[in-house]
């Protein structure tokens, strides 16, 4: 099994590299195809300055040449300079933002998984009891609410109406609200996934057999039911972590967290081509890695899964 797993991982990594390459190529050409450019502004620079800028960033060369140059720089680990933020390298900007976003994201993901699994298990165990119904109503509401609504409500409640927490994510305790805002949606989603999957598992023959053999209820729930119910959750959690680590535009804006989230959006608005490429490659790579990890975890939790 081990060699099979190793082969599987190698295959998947190669596929991942190819996926990222496709993403790079598509993003590169699509970005250039949309109208506008990085130097346009309400006040346009003069034609001379425009030409100097285009030469500086190599935008005056034919597109295919720019593409080849970009790829060869990338292979050498050079993501190029940001056009918008003069004098800053794309990779520095991304890493600075990622350090902050990832820290928030890890907390949020941890909280979401821990509470989500617990609530899901509780809801399943007390199926159709009042506690199950309460959990379902709450999580339905949270899943339905977009993050800007949640973030704004939290901001209003805890910073203005009852000012116990800072509204500025850059101060002491300022990360509590952004983390909570980030965690609520995946937490609710995981709760619902865990619940339905647990209910499914708990109806299976082997659970009934375990119970019939006199295995304690706690053991049935934790060892047999939850462990087997966790597989669909893993499928969701992999990509969820990739998204949550790279920050949320809305949450970071609302709480003034200097994270990565904003760059995904602003780099496109600014036509900051190297930054668009950088953020896209970064997210794509992270996504591919997380998917790979969750696929491997699948196998760990459910030996019946054939990785072939």
């Amino acid at each position: 099994m081990d060699s099979k797993l190793a082969l599987y991982i190698v295959k998947r990594v190669l596929l991942a590299v190819f996926t990222v390459f496709l993403v790079i190529t598509i993003t590169f050409f699509v970005m250039r195809a949309i109208p506008g450019g990085p130097f346009l502004a309400e006040k346009s620079p003069s034609a001379e300055v425009m030409a100097a800028l285009e030469a500086k960033y190599g935008l005056d060369k034919p597109l295919w040449e720019q593409y080849i140059t970009y790829l060869s720089d990338l292979i050498h680990g050079d993501f190029g300079p940001s056009i918008k933020n003069r004098g800053r390298n794309v990779i520095d900007l991304i890493m600075e933002g990622f350090t902050i976003s990832a820290k928030n994201g890890l907390w949020a993901a941890g909280i979401a998984i821990a509470i989500g699994l617990t609530l899901g298990a509780i809801a399943a165990v007390f199926h159709n009891k009042w506690i199950d119904k309460l959990i379902m109503v709450l999580t339905s509401a949270l899943v339905a609410m977009p993050s800007f609504v949640i973030a704004t409500i939290l901001l209003l409640l805890f910073c203005i109406v009852w000012p116990v927490l800072p509204a500025n994510g850059n101060t002491e305790g300022g990360l509590i609200l952004p983390i909570v805002s980030l965690a609520l949606y995946p937490m609710s989603y995981i709760t619902r996934l865990t619940r339905s999957s647990m209910l499914d598992v708990m109806g299976q023959d082997y659970i009934r057999t375990a119970r019939a053999k006199g295995v304690s209820n706690t053991k049935v729930i934790f060892k047999h039911a939850l462990k087997n119910a966790v597989t669909p959750v893993i499928t969701y959690v992999g990509p969820m972590i990739a998204f949550i680590l790279t920050g949320s535009l809305v949450v970071e804006k609302v709480f003034a967290v200097p994270g990565l989230g904003d760059y995904f959006f602003s780099s496109i608005t600014n036509r900051d081509y190297p930054m668009v490429m950088g953020t896209t490659i970064f997210l794509a790579t992270l996504m591919v890695i997380m998917t790979l990890i969750s696929d491997i975890l699948y196998k760990v939790f459910d030996p019946r899964v054939d990785l072939g």
Partner: protein
């Protein structure tokens, strides 16, 4: 392996249960941990993070914008960037604590001296013992280097053209010479009244040659290499904030009261307001549009509206394909009529809501004539300050009648549509483009409705920002939202943008079909408008210069293609505890003389 995983899962669940029963305390502790990590972790910029909290009484925490694109004095063209720069750099001339122009690095404001070859020269004498904030000496040669660097097209500075008033700009050899350590001689082809003000502009501030040359554009991205000569110096620069501390080498350091200023980067209006209300920020430069009325009522001493050198307007494309087939005169009448139908007072009070002033001309308010009057006090064809149409709320009905009369004239001469009961019938549909933004879209909806009442079919197309800029610049539109902020206190900053070759000539004057139209006193756009602007730039006589600029505005308004709506205002909120703060008409915020009571 499996057992271990199950065990871990159980541990996680137990943790979660604990967290569940006491959510608030648990997450609080957890997050203090996060913050602690952030303080101790070495940051990518090596600058301390989270060391400044609003609790620090010696620091003013302020907000004037988001993380800036650049804070290099030569490269910056943004208002927030300029605010950061004026705290870290000072030019030959600057603003004193009353907001008046005063000598800074120079000992006095020089006067122009005629040279033998018919040009003028200004000789600046620098103060003794001027120093950079690293303690090294600052000399006249530093100014020469900085100005030449900023004007060089290779530097690719947006505001490089700010130096076009100096001799030699066009040949790439700026006529600026440091004759010795303390003397800078500048030669201008003609004297321009705003040159002294330009010397106070961020683009004219000195930068230190060795740090710039050693680090390239990156010199202005790190506290260690960001060497300036102003009242403050940068001690921390992260994506969250810019931390400034008093520069002990500043020549006027005795008058800088506050030791530390933190500019927090944030551009989310709701977040700004929340931070202002709970005291985190003592100053915010933007407020949510919907809150304007409430804030004005709730914080009468803190909510401020200041005039700003700028005009919000609608631009028509003179080569619009939708109006093909009409003569140039007919097109101008149609555009003028559409302009007259706009009730500017309604837009200001019901949409803008921020004290905007209805505009009766394109050149904004706040610009001074040689006799000390405002430029707009003399605008309009009669030079009586009544503008090019009346913006009096009581004259709106008359404006509409005039508009209908113009349209009837065009209907009769062109035969392409009719006017029935004051409404056009059979007029081609027009498309109005705007970028996203509640204010812009509200104006678009208003125009659509108002013009619709007179029978016009107007489709509103909202475009993404960069696409919008591209469409407008290339003239692929009929009617577009537009706005312009002046660069300095001179009307030319509003007028030279409309010459044929200007990169900001969104109306496409003098291009394609319009290039050959000789309807401006029998002259084409190039022969009339472009020629007048060239004359303005070559004029040595202030009165003549201003008269020429009024003439240029007359031509511009005669086209109907520039349809001003209102003059911009700048809204901000400044805590009552701050004293000694002021704002300039360009929107720069001055905190170097400010302190917290």
């Amino acid at each position: 392996m499996k057992k271990l995983l199950s065990l871990m899962l159980v541990v996680v669940m137990v943790f979660a249960l604990v967290a569940c029963t006491g959510t608030t305390p648990a997450t609080t502790t957890a997050n203090q941990g996060v913050n602690g990590d952030a303080t101790n972790a070495p940051d990518a910029t090596n600058a301390p993070e989270n060391t400044d909290t609003p609790a620090d009484p010696s620091a003013m925490v302020l907000n004037v914008g988001a993380y800036p694109d650049t804070i290099d004095p030569a490269l910056n063209s943004a208002v927030d960037g300029a605010t950061y720069i004026i705290h870290n750099f000072v030019g030959l001339i600057g603003y004193d604590k009353d907001g008046k122009l005063a000598p800074m690095c120079a000992t006095e404001i020089p006067t122009a001296v005629a040279t033998d070859d018919g040009k003028v020269s200004y000789t600046f004498t620098l103060r003794d013992d001027l120093k950079w904030n690293d303690g090294s000496a600052l000399t006249a040669a530093d100014f020469e280097y900085s100005w030449k660097r900023a004007a060089d097209p290779a530097t690719a500075a947006d505001y490089g053209y700010m130096f076009d008033v100096i001799d030699g700009y066009a040949d790439g050899n700026l006529n600026v010479t440091a004759t010795d350590d303390k003397t800078l001689v500048v030669v201008l082809p003609v004297d321009v009244p705003y040159f002294i003000e330009l010397c106070a502009f961020p683009t004219y501030m000195p930068v230190k040659k060795d740090v710039v040359e050693a680090n390239g554009d990156a010199w202005a991205t790190k506290a260690e290499t960001y060497i300036g000569n102003g009242p403050y110096k940068v001690t921390g620069f992260t994506q969250a904030e810019l931390t400034l501390e008093k520069n002990e080498y500043y020549f006027d350091a005795a008058n800088v009261v506050t030791d530390k200023i933190v500019f927090a980067f944030n551009d989310d209006d709701s977040s700004l307001l929340a931070n202002y209300k709970n005291g985190s920020y003592l100053f915010i430069d933007s407020v949510p549009q919907d809150e304007i009325e409430t804030l004005a009522a709730q914080y009468p001493n803190e909510y401020a509206v200041e005039g700003q050198l700028g005009t919000y307007y609608v631009s028509f494309n003179v080569n619009d394909k939708a109006l093909e087939g009409f003569t140039e005169e007919e097109k101008a009448d149609i555009r003028t009529a559409l302009g007259l139908l706009i009730e500017r007072n309604y837009v200001c009070t019901d949409i803008g809501k921020a004290g905007q002033v209805p505009a009766a001309g394109f050149v904004a308010m706040g610009l001074t004539e040689p006799d000390g009057k405002q430029f707009i006090e003399k605008n309009g064809v009669n030079r009586d300050g009544k503008g090019y149409y009346s913006v009096d709320v009581n004259d709106y009905a008359a404006n509409c009648d005039k508009a209908v009369a113009l349209l009837e004239g065009v209907a009769a001469s062109s035969g392409k549509f009719t006017v029935e009961d004051g409404s056009v019938v059979g007029f081609p549909a027009l498309t109005y483009i705007t970028n996203e933004g509640t204010g812009h879209e509200a104006v678009a909806a208003y125009l659509q409705e108002t013009w619709g009442m007179y029978g016009f079919t107007v489709n509103v197309e909202t475009q993404e920002w960069a696409t919008f800029l591209n469409t407008r610049k290339n003239g692929d539109y009929s009617v577009a939202r537009n706005g312009w902020l002046g660069d300095y206190n001179d009307p030319i900053s509003f007028l030279d943008m409309w010459i044929t070759t200007s990169g900001n000539n969104d109306s496409q004057f003098g291009k394609d079909a319009h290039a050959t139209y000789a309807g401006y006193d029998g002259k084409t756009w190039a022969e009339s408008y472009d020629a007048i602007i060239a004359q303005v730039k070559a004029s040595n006589n202030p009165e003549e210069r201003f008269e020429l600029m009024h003439q240029a505005e007359d031509i511009l308004m005669q086209t109907g293609a520039i349809c001003p709506i209102y003059y911009y205002t700048d809204i901000y909120m400044c805590s009552e505890s701050i004293e000694g703060f002021f704002s300039s008409p360009l929107g720069y915020k001055f905190f170097m003389y400010a302190s917290v009571k």
